[in-house]
């Protein structure tokens, strides 16, 4: 295992200064996520327009560097994507965190892939995987308009 791989500079930077923190003005979808193990909570807000494009997206919450960085990077990448693209990116990310060595989605540019790959270090820290995936699962709930609180345990 390698802590340097887990805590890369880009993670630390996003963790410290997360992008898109706050509440989207006039959001029309949102969902709450909860990690029962560490008690982390995240709330994802987004504005989906008539063309099913995520016009704006943000999150509220506090947590460890991994979860903050992950939410920050996610919101950055999802913004401007349409529903189909966004869902593919989420799947691609979750697949990468679980088992795949790489990201495959066409909807991600090379530099975006590089950014996302920085989170792949958590693979070696099973207990921290949930920190990295919480905001992504919560985004999916928001898109699905789910009223339930997303729980990384299930």
């Amino acid at each position: 295992m390698n802590l340097k791989e887990l805590y890369q500079e880009i993670i630390l930077e996003h963790g410290k200064n997360p992008r898109n923190l706050g509440k989207v003005h006039e959001f029309n979808k949102d969902a709450k996520g909860h990690n029962p193990l560490c008690g982390d909570n995240v709330h994802v807000y987004l504005k989906l327009n008539g063309q099913k494009i995520v016009e704006d997206i943000s999150f509220e919450g506090s947590g460890c560097a991994i979860s903050m960085a992950s939410a920050s990077i996610m919101t950055d990448l999802i913004k401007g994507k349409n529903e189909h693209e966004a869902k593919e990116i989420v799947e691609d990310f979750l697949g990468m965190i679980k088992e795949n060595p790489d990201l495959k989605s066409e909807y991600l540019k090379e530099d975006e892939k590089t950014k996302l790959m920085c989170l792949s270090g958590v693979k070696q820290y099973p207990m921290r995987v949930k920190c990295a995936t919480l905001s992504w699962h919560t985004f999916t709930s928001a898109m699905d308009n789910s009223k339930e609180i997303t729980n990384t345990e299930s």
Binding site: P36, L37, M127, N151, S154
Partner: protein, 406 residues
């Protein structure tokens, strides 16, 4: 694993008990433990110990994974639909208290009725009695027939328009009767009645399939299933476990705690308050794997052979009176010996290394009905042999000699 040599897997049978080989016929009370189970507990305490789910360090992660693995194993073993329908408790008794208490809090109202049977163990009667005391709830009893059995017909007869719950044993720990729980569940559900099954004697000996059976709750006692003491399993349909309130409160079962309000966690955490029986849960995985390695069909066949053999032996033995002759009989042989109190029988058998139980076996209602204060009970597990039953019979003969019986 072959059932013929299974005694070898249980270290206790290498011991001499009062200079005798141990003839253990008290498995309905608690089963002996295979080496793999004892070893796993030892390994966990000496090499891997940590509390689960609360810390992110290496040992805690490993322990949490082991703990959750058992939940998955149990789910598969009883074919539950969802992993979160498996709740660990301190025993079957707690599992039944949990069900009665939470149904009492949210589902049952004054005037409602609960149907149990005259065969029930106190653990499937006293928790409902508490509701009779705290709420105005009535308990009805399906009657045991002359074979020590409960018929579907009598269940049907005892159901009223106010019956909300049927709580019933899968297999009687005294008469050995295997109840028609699938038919009872179908009948109950057709009338919107919840079915709670006391599976203490069912789980160690019968094939379980929760999705097929479709009962609402099923309580399991792990120490009777070749597992550790201090552990039980409550299977509950997700719908109920989600709808009902929590039972005990404390660490681990909460979502958010404020001074003025508290919200509870999701399943299965909601019902697992405080530090759980970590080592026991982790070791119970070995019990399940052990039973799987033999195969439940083989276990059922082996035990059915034993019961048939034992029943014949005792039926031929003068002065011995078997209790219960149900259509489907599990591995329990309860009996009385004319003029000899069961405690005296047990003491005399013990001298020969034959361990049985004497008493009312937590079934006073049944013993009242049979008009006897107590009975002697020999019960079998996977490690028993026909030889064990021969020794039982011989020892009963010894008993008769001492009491001058023919």
């Amino acid at each position: 694993m072959k059932i013929e040599n299974i005694k070898d897997e249980f270290p206790i049978f290498d011991e001499k008990i009062l200079n005798n080989d141990l003839v253990y016929l008290d498995s309905a009370n608690s089963s002996q433990k295979p080496k793999v189970v004892a070893d796993k507990i030892n390994e966990f305490y000496t090499k891997q110990f940590s509390n689960v789910g609360r810390s992110v360090h290496y040992l805690a992660v490993a322990a949490t994974n082991l703990y959750e693995n058992t939940r998955s194993s149990v789910q598969k073993y009883i074919n539950a639909k969802d992993k979160n329908e498996i709740v660990f408790t301190k025993g079957a008794t707690e599992a039944l208290n949990l069900v009665a208490n939470t149904l009492g809090q949210k589902y049952l109202n004054d005037g409602d009725e609960i149907l149990i049977t005259e065969l029930e163990h106190h653990s499937n009667y006293v928790p409902w009695h508490f509701l009779r005391k705290s709420k105005n709830i009535k308990i009805n009893f399906a009657e045991v027939n002359e074979n020590g059995d409960i018929s579907l017909e009598d269940i049907e007869k005892k159901i009223t328009s106010k019956t909300k719950v049927i709580a019933i044993t899968h297999l009687s720990n005294v008469t050995g009767a295997i109840l028609p729980i699938k038919e009872i569940t179908d009948l109950a559900h057709s009338k919107g009645i919840i079915v709670v099954i006391d599976g203490c004697q069912g789980a160690p000996h019968l094939k379980l399939d929760m999705q097929d059976l479709d009962c609402d709750f099923y309580a399991i006692s792990c120490h009777k299933m070749y597992g550790p003491t201090g552990l039980g399993v409550l299977y509950g349909k997700k719908k109920w476990l989600e709808e009902l309130p929590p039972y005990q409160g404390g660490g681990g079962m909460i979502r958010e705690v404020k001074k003025d309000k508290i919200s509870y966690g999701d399943l299965p955490n909601k019902y697992e308050a405080g530090t759980m029986a970590t080592a026991q849960v982790i070791a119970f995985d070995q019990s399940i794997k052990f039973m799987e390695s033999i195969g439940i069909e083989n276990i059922m066949k082996h035990e059915a052979d034993l019961v048939e053999y034992g029943q014949e032996l005792l039926q031929k033995n003068n002065s011995v009176k078997l209790i219960g002759n149900p259509k489907n009989k599990g591995g329990v042989l309860s009996f009385t010996l004319e003029g000899v109190h069961p405690h005296d029988i047990a003491t005399i058998l013990d001298e020969d290394g034959v361990a049985i139980r004497a008493g009312h076996h937590c079934c006073q209602i049944l013993h009242d009905k049979l008009n006897i204060p107590a009975s002697a009970r020999a019960s079998v597990g996977i490690y028993n042999t026909k030889d064990d039953l021969d020794k039982l019979n011989e020892s009963i003969n010894n008993c008769k000699k001492i009491f001058n019986l023919k």
